[in-house]
Symmetry: C2
């Protein structure tokens, strides 16, 4: 019997009525002949309420007790979902992280899953019990509650799918799949029926807020087929209504470019005339990492005179002041002027097919040039090209690129 | 080092600011040289919110999943309290029922504590860690979450005090002790410095909503000295500011009558001409118990003719219709007329001293007679006398009896 893990995010279980609708989706999967395990997030708003309580008492401290408070949000949903399934005539049981157990390390507030012994949930599934697992939480080997940090419930679902050798992991959310770009910006955006892990990872990291990158990484590492689909659409009768996230080998006809993504609220930092010597990059980025700055693109060109070079990188715009203060204290940058540009967007085209097609960069750059959009920096990987542009051109660039790569046309 | 367990009720931890004030109380006890363990209820209102979620999905079903939902309320408070204590420089850790473990039977929603292995909390206390235990919850031997039902957090505190051989169990609530009667009704009511378990039990069962009777029974059985005191009063400098609940032997000078209590919202039911034969009481009360009716006073007088008798009992007023329908279906009551009086109050005087003083009943009855208050039924125990009167006389009766037994005077 096929086994699938389905995961419902916070908006999908925001109140008892939505939990009941989600339960209907689970029942439909069971009736289709699947063994189903469920993972739930906290009801939308609950986690923020709990975080607010913690902040009122003390801010910033992440301890096992902070985790005990926050983990109760998913505990509530898992119990309610089990009740909703029982009401529908199903056998169901809620499981907290410690009951599975989902064993994690002791990095409270951002723990990593170490191990999920499958026996307890295996037995439940084989007894026709639908286990409803509280997402986002684990337990240390010392028996203390942990939480898994951002994207934690997606991670729980993927890790469970791997541990239980599930055939698929369905992530129910408030969108019905992964799109070629943001449909709010480009009405012609199309839902992708298939996408590779690598593409999804680039799309997720670049601002498509559908799946947390960490869960995609895990799914890729453990080869768990993912599906992204909507809790709010009727999909009865359709077997795979969402976007499938699979291995490259599983996609027969590859698109050259599958999506155009954007990230606003970036700031560009350029350090002029940085001494061109070994260790200089580490001397710059280690202190930034320590200060908690999430550095994204890093661009360093060759040194024209062999003595100094310019180093460019992007940061979240809110961290501008913090980054300035960190950089001013760096002894190795004595010569360096710091140039900040706080009004940039990052625009990327992503596609597994581009690694074997040379024309993608040309199409991208000329499309932008035709609209008079100046490119301020470029980075590339095997499956994406990203450029920085002035933020005011974001919509224009995304729409132009979406059309230029023929993503406006109906998917085959 | 003296060891005490302190328990905070829902109003005492209703928000983060109150949790911080409660934490100050804990720190004061530690500074007085005590080892302190803490038990907390859910923040006021949280349990009702969680029950409402459950009711929206399905009502009435008490399962392990219902318990998982409801138990999260105390989980939140225990984590927050541990954070508040850490902020005050204390070592502290939260413990859920399963972490202690507080092992209960599997009567979900109203489980009974079977066992509390003391090792984990003993170790914590001896390491100067203040354990903050989530009240009201346990775990079955199969690893499922349970809740202990009404009065559950008081029960957790008393059971922990017994298991950890604590010297005292302090119950912090929104009143500063046990009074001779309801101070809102009788401004001259006095706080009792000492009261016996038996008296407290009668007072609690009779409507003084300070301690749940179940926790008092446990304290009596395990000989745990209790103290009832206020979270909202400054008591720094006073060692035992509340009411001590102790064994009879520990009270040197016994008051004859220690309190006057009342219970409104009672209804009196009289079954006329019930056949006077063995098993008749069971035939009446078993079906009522099965229907969930909480029968209180039961009065059966001798049968004047040896054939039939009148049976009187009291019920919560809200159950009047339910009781009528149950009684009408009883085959053994063929002859019986049913008389209902839905407007009665129960007034009781309670005192460990009355068992050796014959004048109490006389004083009580003549005091009521002088005010023209008709007594409709009487029951007595070793330490209390209860009467039913018309509800409109409740205040008059309580005030008159409070004065008649000299409770208006200052306590010695």
């Amino acid at each position: 019997m096929p086994r699938i893990i389905v995961k419902f995010g916070g908006t999908s279980v925001a109140d008892p009525a939505r939990i009941e609708r989600a339960a209907d989706k689970v029942v439909a999967e069971v009736k289709r002949g699947n063994q189903v395990g469920v993972v739930v997030s906290a009801m939308a708003g609950v986690t923020n309420q709990l975080l607010d309580y913690c902040a009122q008492i003390q801010s910033g401290m992440e301890s096992t007790d902070y985790d005990a408070v926050v983990a109760s949000g998913e505990q509530i949903t898992s119990g309610l979902m089990a009740l909703a399934l029982q009401k529908r005539g199903m056998k169901s049981k809620s499981y907290m992280g410690w009951q599975v157990p989902i064993i994690s390390n002791d990095q409270h507030g951002r723990a990593r899953i170490d191990d999920i012994p499958p026996a307890i949930l295996d037995d439940a599934l084989n007894d026709d019990i639908i286990p409803v697992v509280a997402g986002f939480q684990g337990i240390t080997r010392e028996g203390r509650i942990t939480t898994l940090g951002r994207g934690g419930s997606d991670t729980t679902a993927v890790a469970l799918a791997a541990a239980l050798k599930a055939d698929r992991c369905d992530i129910y959310t408030d969108v019905n799949g992964v799109y070629t770009t943001d449909p709010r910006m480009v009405p012609a955006a199309k839902k992708l029926p298939l996408i590779t892990y690598e593409e999804m990872l680039e799309m997720a990291a670049l601002g498509a807020k559908v799946l947390h990158p960490r869960s995609v990484e895990l799914a890729m590492a453990w080869n768990v087929p993912l599906q992204v689909l909507s809790s709010f659409e009727e999909t009865i009768g359709s077997d795979l209504p969402g976007t499938q996230v699979v291995r490259e080998e599983d996609i027969v006809e590859k698109q050259i470019v599958n999506g155009v993504t954007y990230a606003r609220n970036e700031a560009k930092v350029t350090l002029m005339s940085v001494p061109d010597k070994p260790g200089i990059a580490a001397a710059i980025f280690a202190p930034l990492g320590k200060a908690g700055v999430n550095v994204d693109m890093i661009i360093q060109n060759i040194s024209p005179d062999g003595k100094s070079t310019d180093m460019t990188f992007t940061i979240p715009r809110d961290d501008t002041a913090l980054v300035e203060s960190v950089l001013k204290d760096l002894p190795d940058l004595d010569s360096g002027e710091i140039r900040m540009d706080a009004n940039v967007s990052k625009i990327s085209v992503v596609g597994i097919g581009m690694s074997s097609h040379s024309g993608v960069a040309t199409t991208m750059f000329s499309t932008l040039a035709e609209r008079g959009i100046n490119i301020r920096a470029i980075t590339t990987s095997e499956i994406k090209i990203s450029v920085l542009i002035a933020e005011e051109y974001t919509e224009l660039a995304v729409r132009a690129l979406h059309a230029a790569f023929a993503l406006d046309k109906d998917a085959a």
